[in-house]
Amino acid sequence: MDQPRSVLRQATEVAPPSHGSRKVVPAVAHRRDLRLDVFRGLALWLIFLDHIPSNAVSWVTIRNYGFSDATEIFVFISGYTAAFVYGRAMQERGFVLATARVMRRAWQIYAAHIFLFMIYMAEIAYVAGSFDNPLYAEEMGILDFLKQPDVTLVQALLLKFKPAGMDILPLYIVLLVGFPPLLWLLRRLPVVALAASLTLYVVSWQFDWNMPAYPSGQWVFNPFAWQLIFVFGAWCALGGSERLAPLVRSPATQGLAVAYLLFAFVITLTWYFPRYGHYVPRWLADFMYPIDKVNLDPLRFAHFLALAVLTVRFVPRDWPPLKSQLLRPLVLCGQHSLEIFCLGVFLAFAGHFFLVEVSDRLSAQVLVSALGIAAMIAAAGLLAWYKKAEGRASGSGGKQPDADLAGGEA
């Protein structure tokens, strides 16, 4: 969130004449912020580990040590990069073309989601055909979806039927579809845009707004609530982080962040050691619980903010290790987030399959986790190589309006 001075200078760039007036609009930094790549790559790894059911290795992921998890990081950085990339497109090519680009991206993500859904259906069809045990008569009810493909497939295409663990991409699609007008507003009246986002968040809590799901219930990530962190990310990308910088750097904020993270850590411990749950005062429990992931609970958002405040403090933009070989795998994964995310979901399916069919010993869980991350790195490396080779071959050499500069795709 902490931006270098260069942003401040560029923030007063004059808009191109195509916008009609000589209105001052916030522009975006041109230097690549590797922190975005690194932390998005990290979020992708953590999401992969968390998506393998009963995976002991997922003990290392942040959701076990506080209120928020990798989803917040992923959505925030996605908002940040989207504003960065499409903000520039809007500045250079105008509203209509930028909107078209956003929609194309949303369509790509939709296609990716449907592809993953096919893999999911293949796996449950396999389970339906091969597994039987009287103990699980009830659990096998989940396979009833296969009995009515006419309904299930249509509901999946409408993004209403979303299998467990496949909820982030639909959220991302909805956020992108609503993004162009918001971006327009963000570039003119950033504070108003942020206030509008906060208002939508509050109103959705007040009136229980959410998108309907099939066969019952609602979306696991409520877009009306989760848009807040996406828009906040976008706002930060368009100069907001510079405004926040003094606040973020103040010792009071730092202290508050540390205190809150410690508090969340202690509370989280009581979930894993239920016998200590009784030490949490009743008034506090009544105030905190339930910590609502569906609607991006304020406690979760605050936890993410606290993490971000400390990250910005201890990982400056020009932190040398960011360019080191050690963090290169994370950077690579973060730069190809859609492909690597999808691969991660697939690998989580495949990993679970291996654990159930072959061995679910602890060593097998470690093996599956390690191989999965290795596969993600290899795929990201391959994509990077291809992009580079293709760029050289086509001889363009010039600057494509590519999302890469922003730290990966939007």
Partner: protein
């Protein structure tokens, strides 16, 4: 790179070499946490020397084998309670029906109270809700409503969460629902039988291989016997807990 390959090979060898050590299913007894009491059940035992238990639940409280109905955990619970609560007439009625969500069951609690007048209701739920993707807030409200109804009708409540089912885990994702059940039990100060954690331990320890494919109900019956015995531990422990709490006052 070489070390990485070696490490992976080593991990693989370890995975193959670790032989499952079958343990006794009662080793999971430390997963039975008694941190709430059953005052109504304790009072019924003191005053009437009787304990009427009703099981409300869905298909995982019933067991259907290839040849028809097989004894499920409520049967073991009854015999274990009769054995451990000497001089007490412990009776159990199982009202479980397949496909019932928490809301469905809560709607039927008025009838259950009227028909069976239980001192204790073992409320097994969560699976149907997780399968149907019932809204989490709605799920919690149904639990709270059901508990209020039962307690208002003179019955204590024990919540029982889902079975651990490795084969369907990636499709059903019971964790959010289990979390809510734990939170509700904590706030309402009622005992929770953490079937999910217990069965997971059995699977991890090799006590039962829960991903086995079979039409035979032999293993399922053993699992239910173990659940019934551990559940009896919880019931007896929570009755003692209530008595001690009363004495402390």
């Amino acid at each position: 790179m070489k070390t990485l390959v070696l490490a992976l090979a080593g991990a693989f060898a370890l995975a193959g070499a670790t032989v499952a050590q079958a343990g006794n299913c009662m080793d999971a007894a430390d997963r039975v946490h008694v941190d709430a009491g059953l005052p109504r059940a304790a009072a019924a035992i003191t005053s009437r020397h009787e304990l009427r238990v009703a099981v409300a639940g869905s298909a995982s409280s019933i067991l259907a084998g290839p040849g028809g109905k097989r004894p499920a955990y409520p049967v073991t619970l009854q015999s274990a309670l009769s054995e451990r609560l000497r001089g007490v007439n412990a009776s159990i009625v199982n009202t479980a029906k397949p496909h019932q969500t928490a809301a469905d069951m809560a709607a039927g609690f008025g009838q259950l109270l009227g028909e069976h007048k239980p001192d204790l209701v073992v409320w097994q739920t969560g699976t149907s809700d997780a399968i149907g993707g019932v809204d989490l807030d709605q799920f919690r409200e149904s639990l709270e409503k059901g508990i209020k109804l039962l307690q208002g009708g003179g019955a204590d409540v024990i919540l029982m969460n889902m079975q651990y089912s490795p084969r369907t885990e990636f499709m059903i994702a019971p964790d959010h629902y289990a979390e809510i059940m734990r939170g509700v039990a904590l706030r309402e100060e009622i005992p929770l039988f953490d079937r999910l954690a217990i069965m997971k331990e059995w699977n991890d320890e090799g006590t039962f291989d829960l991903s086995t494919t079979t039409k035979n109900s032999e293993m399922a019956e053993q699992v239910h016997v173990c659940i019934g015995r551990l559940l009896a531990d919880l019931v007896v422990g929570a009755i003692d807990f209530a008595r001690e709490a009363k004495q402390d006052k």
